[in-house]
Each structure stands twice: as C-alpha cells, then as structure tokens.
C-alpha cells in the first residue's frame, strides 16, 4: 500500500509535467494545425536556460523558471515568424519537415554550445516531507503544485481574457475569427510563445529529478504526441487528462510489471485508443 501511494504521487508529478508540455503542443495544433515536432527541442532549450540561469548567474530557482519561460516565448515566436509563418499556405507535409528541421537545429545547436554531457540541475527543494506516513520528495510536490498553478493560470487566461478568447475563437472557426476582426497572425505568434513557455516550465520543473542533456526532448516528444492523440488533437482537457493517464500507466507498469514495459505502455494505450476511438478521448470532431 505504501509503495502504491508513493508511486501514485510519482505518477501525479510526472503527469503534471506531461500535461504542461502536452498543453503547449495541443494549443499550437488547435490554432495553427501544425503538429510541432520541434516541441521536445523547445522543452530541452527551456531546461538549459533555467540551468544556466541557476548555475552561471545564481538566479533563484523559481525566478530562473520564469526567465526561461520568457526566453522560450521569444524563441517560440521567432520560430513561428521565421519558419512556420512563411509556410502558412504550404501543404501540411512542409510544416512537418520544417518542424523536424527545427528539432535537429536546436538539438545540434545545444550540443555545439553546451556539449553533450548530462547535467544535474540543482534545486533548492531538496529532501523529503512526511505526509500521512509517506516520505515525499519536496521537488515532486513543487512540480505538482507549480504545474497545477500554471494550468489554472492558463485556463483563466483562455476563458476570461480577450487575448485568450481569440485563441479559442481561431480554434473553433478561423473564418469567423477573421470576420470579427481577429488578426490570425498575432494569435499564431502568441500561441507559439505560450506553447514554448509551457514547455520551458515543464522541463525546468522536472529537470532536478531527471537530467539535462541535448536529446532530452526526444523521448518527451513521442510521449506528448501520444498524449494529445490520446486526448484528442487540439483538446485542452484531453492534454491534461491524457498526461496524467500516460504518466500513471507508465509509473504503475514500471513498478508492478517491468521497467521496460513502463516505457512501452503509453504506446499500447495509444494503439488501443486509436482502435476504439480514433479521434481521441476528448475529441470535438476535428
């Protein structure tokens, strides 16, 4: 029972990171209809920015994450302008190829600039706290609470602010959005910025538990794609629920079956969902 609860906490912590990263991917898909394969690379760059802000400049952890989110928002907007905006009228395969290009570019860039060694990100949240007889890593609690706070902020932004509403409007009807005067260009840039910032926050939260290295985004890339397909492309609740489902399935099958199976379970899940409900759990008939 104690093992179960321990793993449940681990699963929730991992799920909140997956959920954050998948949210960014699903937002970009909803607005631009681009499957952004470079998302994992943005996640990786986000982790490095936090790492250097912490280690080289001594900026406190939480502030470093905020800084990383801002830097990545700028990176995301730049990529949208330089790579995806010029392709806006091109066939979809061009977006895919361009996104893979961005992925390779960022990974190789990270290797050249920062080397390929694995780095350990120090976090001020070390040690464990005892909750109901369980020893829980402080960092895991930080991951869970920070992720939930960011998700709640994103939700309020999307539902309660005019810029947030423009994102929803474009997702639901592009023509309708331009007929009320919404500039799809500006919304595309904003969405890319938010998406990259979410990836940065997710990566920076989990980095002290895992490690920072140039290809750290690749495994995540596969997972977040599985999550948003599982949850329904473009669906926000789908990304969150899908993130938690995948993480819990991974953690529990690693614990009770085998570690290798834990890594594969997500894709088993995905196959089952695609067979039974090909449009995803929270699809809106896209």
């Amino acid at each position: 029972m104690e093992l179960f609860l321990q793993q449940l906490i681990n699963g929730i912590a991992l799920g909140s990171v997956y959920g954050l990263a998948a949210l960014g991917l699903t937002l970009v898909f909803g607005v631009l209809r681009i499957p952004n394969l470079a998302h994992g690379a943005l996640y990786m760059v986000g982790a490095y920015v936090t790492y250097f802000a912490l280690v080289s400049y001594g900026i406190p952890y939480i502030a470093a994450i905020g800084l990383s989110a801002v830097v990545l928002a700028v990176v995301g907007i730049t990529i949208e302008r330089l790579v995806f905006h010029p392709l806006r009228n091109a066939p979809h395969t061009h977006h895919l190829i361009a996104a893979v290009g961005v992925l390779f570019f960022l990974e190789s860039g990270a290797q050249v600039l920062w080397g390929s060694e694995f780095r350990q990100m120090p976090s001020p949240f070390v040690g464990t706290v005892e909750v109901l007889g369980l020893n829980i890593g402080l960092q895991r609690l930080v991951v869970i609470f920070a992720s939930i706070a960011v998700m709640a902020a994103l939700y309020l932004f999307l539902k309660k602010t005019v810029p947030g509403q423009t994102i929803e409007a474009i997702e639901q009807d592009r023509t309708g959005a331009s007929l009320v005067g919404i500039d799809a260009n500006r919304v595309s840039m904003m969405t890319f910025g938010i998406s990259a910032a979410l990836a940065a926050v997710a990566a920076s939260l989990v980095a002290p538990i895992n490690l920072v290295f140039p290809t750290m985004g690749e495994a995540l890339n596969l997972k977040v794609f599985a999550i948003i397909i599982l949850g329904g492309l473009g669906s926000i609740p789908g990304a969150i629920v899908g993130g938690f489902l995948l993480a819990l399935a991974e953690v529990f099958s690693s614990t009770y079956i085998s570690n290798a199976f834990g890594q594969a379970i997500g894709f088993v899940f995905l196959l089952v969902v695609l067979a039974v409900r090909p449009t995803g759990l929270f699809s809106k008939g896209v």
């Binding site: 005019v162 409007a169 639901q172 331009s178 007929l179 009320v180 919404i182 809106k284």
Partner: protein, 243 residues
C-alpha cells in the same frame, strides 16, 4: 459628379474573382448608398457568396476595385476590413460553436474591445432585437437551433457597430416563420441607419423589404433596378418567384 460619387458608400467596380481557372465573378459592379437596403438575388452558385467574401476580404479579387467611403479595401485581410465598418453574417454562419452566445457576441465587438460601456449597450440592442438570445446567452452557440444561430451570427456582426452589414442568405434553411422574423429584424437594423447588403434566393420576400436589387447569374450581374422595377420585371417573376 463629384457630389454623386460621395454618396456611394460602397462601390464595387468591375470586380472579377477566380478559383484557379474558374471565373466565379466577372466584371461585377455594384453600389450601396447611405442608408440603403440592397438585395442581391441569384440561384445557388451564381456567385453571391463569392462577391460577399471578396468585399469582406476573405478572398482576393483578380481584377477590379472595391471602395468603402472612398477608401480602397479590395485585397485587404478580412480582419482589417471589419475595422473600416463592414461586417458580415457569412454563409455557414461561422460561429464559435463551443463558446456561449454571450462570448460569441462579445467577440463580435473585438475591434472595440476596450469600450466596455459601448459593448454592453450594443449587447442590449442585440437582445432587444432577438430576445431569445438573452435567454440563451449562457448556452454554447452550437447547441442552438438554426434560426437562433442565425440570430447570433447577425448579432455578432452588429456588435462591431458596422456602417455596412452584409448578410449572406440569413433565411437559408429556416422555417418560414423564423425566416420572416429574421428578415423583419434586418429591416429594423436598416432603419437605424446601417446599410444592408443582403443575398437571398427568395426574391419575393427580399424585394418586399429592400430598396434596390441586383440579379447575379453565372458570376455576372444581369439585371439591376429599384424594388418596383424588379418586382415588375417579368423575367424575375418567372425565374425567382415562380409566377
């Protein structure tokens, strides 16, 4: 001459639009004057929607000009045409189906989003015009009936405080009673001074309420005139009124 030109608030001249090789509109000229209610008659596929989409910037013309209050607007992105004062309830309505009626309407006022008081005033006007929308304001727009969705589409187009309201077949697919209710509302809108450009297949109903009309066939304007001229035209009676 100069004075006469100034009166034409919307002036479309020699407009042509192509879909690849297919010519959807050929040398179309049309105008709407201050306060006018103008109807565009024509069968399915005649080019009415293409004309409206091009005026609103959703399509680019291959030739010709569109000017509004003397300012050229052809080929501009749709979102900038709205702020010039031209809004449209388009074919297919293009509502935001998962957002509430209220949010749909509020987004209609996107170009004047900082004018909180003005937005609330416009909301009240829309609710007065279509009282059912006040009742349904919390419901997702996609859950409404066809007629109610059309009301949301018209209401949303009004929320931007347009000078010219373009309506692409608002009565399409509606029950006769609801269609009449919608067209009556359009008449009321026009009485407040907003110019109306309406596409309709039901010539009888449309000519009853419009000041002037055009007939579009195969992408060309084949006939135009005042309401009386068109109502008295035998060809129109035969082709569009089944009489």
């Amino acid at each position: 001459m100069q004075k006469k030109r100034e009166k034409k608030m919307l002036e479309v001249s020699d407009l042509s639009v192509r879909y690849g090789e297919f010519v959807a509109l050929r040398d179309v000229s049309l105008e709407v004057d201050e306060g006018e209610f103008v109807v565009v008659l024509g069968a399915n596929g005649a080019g009415k929607s293409t004309l409206f989409r091009t005026i609103n910037g959703l399509m680019r013309p291959s030739a010709g000009e569109i000017s509004f209050y003397g300012e050229r607007i052809e080929g501009r992105p749709a979102n900038t045409v709205v702020s010039r004062g031209v809004t449209q309830s388009a074919e297919g309505r293009h509502l935001f189906p998962e957002l509430s009626v209220l949010k749909n309407l509020t987004l209609g006022a996107y170009i004047r989003r900082r004018d909180r008081a003005g937005i609330n005033e416009s909301l009240e006007e829309v609710y007065e015009l279509f009282p059912i929308l006040r009742e349904k304001r919390r419901d997702p727009a996609g859950s409404l009936s066809g007629g109610q969705q059309q009301m949301v589409a018209i209401g949303r187009a009004l929320m931007a405080k347009p000078k010219l309201l373009i309506l692409d077949e608002p009565s399409l697919g509606l029950a006769p009673l609801v269609a009449r209710q919608v067209l009556d509302a359009v008449v009321q809108i026009n009485r407040t001074g907003i110019m109306v450009l309406l596409a309709e297949q039901n010539a009888q109903a449309a000519l009853k309420i419009a000041h002037r009309g055009y007939v579009v066939e195969n992408g060309e304007i084949t006939l135009q005139g005042t309401r009386e001229e068109l109502l008295g035209n035998g060809e129109i009676r035969r082709a569009y009124m089944g009489a």
